[in-house]
């Protein structure tokens, strides 16, 4: 599997502020890639560098094997881009705007028409006859995805596509992105971790101008497998019995917690509960969630 996007050692500063100091990551084909970081971490800067709207101080970016150059980036023919707050020409209809985008992308008019119908159906705007100026934020975001996909890009870049939307709008956008991910690679930034968990195959955490952690979500989960077991006895005093048997465990709020518990540990714990006739109201094997991983990565 080849990589659609490869970023190596990307550096960028604005004035005295070093925003990116050696970002390295790669997005393989047909993958939904979540790019996570706090506000101001440099997600937009990275994305704008990929589409050649910003000039990096150092490092290399290749898209489909071709090097990205600043200014008239030729590699943009492989890319569809959705800015964080997309602004369109309010006096056009969605259809007219997509036609403009298609022409700019160098498509034939018959192809534009066909693709426009297809995309407007995908983003749920095919019945919309009004001009863009009356659109809600969610509708603009959906049109934004449609314009980004018009020339069947190999890589779809979305800058925080869900951050300003209500729960319904967010769900719609995520579903569209997931759908789009079947035909193209999706590289999207966000600070909403549940979005990543819902649709991404891979993730990268950006912190301190570098990628602090990246890879397949499942692998990362396993790697960071802080799979604690938490037991809440009916009688809080019983937790102490467990603590006696398992020296690694800790007591907390009447619960017994065993960090980094293996499968065997869990079985032993269950056996111990049975032998000591402890009434248990909750026995929980904790899944590592991204939020915890993220907090750990950014050191908070």
């Amino acid at each position: 599997m080849s990589n659609v996007l490869e970023i190596t050692g990307l550096c960028k500063h604005f004035g005295s502020k070093q925003v990116l100091s050696g970002v390295t990551l790669s997005v393989p084909e047909n993958c939904v890639f979540g790019f996570v970081g706090r506000n101001g971490a440099g997600k937009t800067t990275t994305m704008k560098s990929v589409i050649g709207l910003l000039k990096p101080d150092g490092g290399e970016i290749t898209v489909c094997g071709e090097r990205v150059t600043y200014g008239g980036a030729k590699t943009n023919r492989f890319i569809g881009y959705l800015p964080d707050v997309p602004e369109f020409y309010g006096y056009m209809t969605a259809r007219e705007y997509l036609a403009l985008c298609g022409k700019v992308a160098g498509m034939k008019s018959s192809e534009i028409k066909e693709r426009t119908d297809e995309l407007l159906r995908l983003v749920g705007l095919s019945e919309e006859k009004h001009r863009i100026k009356g659109y809600s934020r969610g509708m603009k975001q959906r049109l934004g995805i449609a314009q980004a996909l018009i020339n069947r890009p190999k890589l779809l870049i979305c800058d925080e596509p869900t951050s300003a939307l209500d729960p319904v709008g967010r769900r719609e956008i995520l579903d569209i992105l997931k759908d789009a991910g079947k035909q193209t690679s999706v590289f999207f930034s966000t600070h909403i971790l549940t979005d990543v968990e819902r649709i991404c195959d891979r993730v990268a955490f950006l912190e301190g101008g570098k990628v602090a952690l990246s890879g397949n979500i499942e692998e990362i989960r396993r790697q960071y497998a802080d799979t604690a077991v938490e037991i809440q006895p009916e009688n809080p005093a019983d937790a102490a019995i467990l603590a006696e048997q398992f020296a690694d465990g800790t007591l907390c709020d009447g619960c017994f917690v065993l960090e980094n518990a293996s499968q065997e540990n869990a079985e032993e714990l269950l056996k111990c509960i049975l032998e000591n006739h402890i009434a248990v109201s909750r026995f929980e094997r904790k899944e590592p969630d991204l939020e915890k991983m993220f907090m750990e990565v950014i050191g908070e």
Partner: protein
Amino acid sequence: MSFISGFFTFTGKELMELRRSGRLLIFIILFVLLGVMNPATAKLTPWLLKSMADSLETSGITVTEYTVTAMDSWVQFFKNLPTMGLLLTVVMFGGFFTSEYAKGTLIPLLAKGLSRNAVAAAKTFTMLLVWSAGYWLSYGITYAYSDYYWDNSVVSHYAFAAFGLWLFGVLLLCCIVFFSSFAGSSAQVLLGVGAVYVAMNLLGMVGTVSEYLPSFLTRSGELLTGQAQPSDYSTAVLISAAASVVLLIASIPITSKRRV
């Protein structure tokens, strides 16, 4: 996408924008009015003078019979167009570039490979097209009425004088292109163009320099009466044309480095 197809696509978009926003209609209406106003004012002059005759008489001015000629109409043209006409045009196009940068509407298109030069060229072309259309429409109306009511042949070199004024307008539009390549708002662009205009007028006060300045093209009084010849204006024409080209060329590298 090639520069040429980008240019045509974006010019189409600009014309649609001007049409749908209603700005084109307002612009054309105002320039038609500016055109009609010149012969109308000339036509009304005797009537105005007559109606004011009594009050003028008490202040010691006697009004004799006044014969209106095409000259009066053309004098009005060369009074109104360099002021109201140019002001209207510059104000309308002051934010033509900067508003797109400010709103971020260009980003999706640039990300699709539209060249910045194609955008700048399309915008420049649209401005020149609209200015020329409005201006020559105004000219045509003044010409037709003046010839219908009176006789244009008593006026010398009005076509050349009109060309000079048009060229001066072109220069101001090129100033907009130049200032827009780095200015952040339409206010800054207007300030820049205003500063150029004022600077030219101040320099024009220095006797010997004035005829080399583009602003010399707006002084057409002597041309109309035949006291001056078009050849007297050749330096100002050349300098205006050269300055326009230089401003356009200078804006190219600045625009391409601009952060969007």
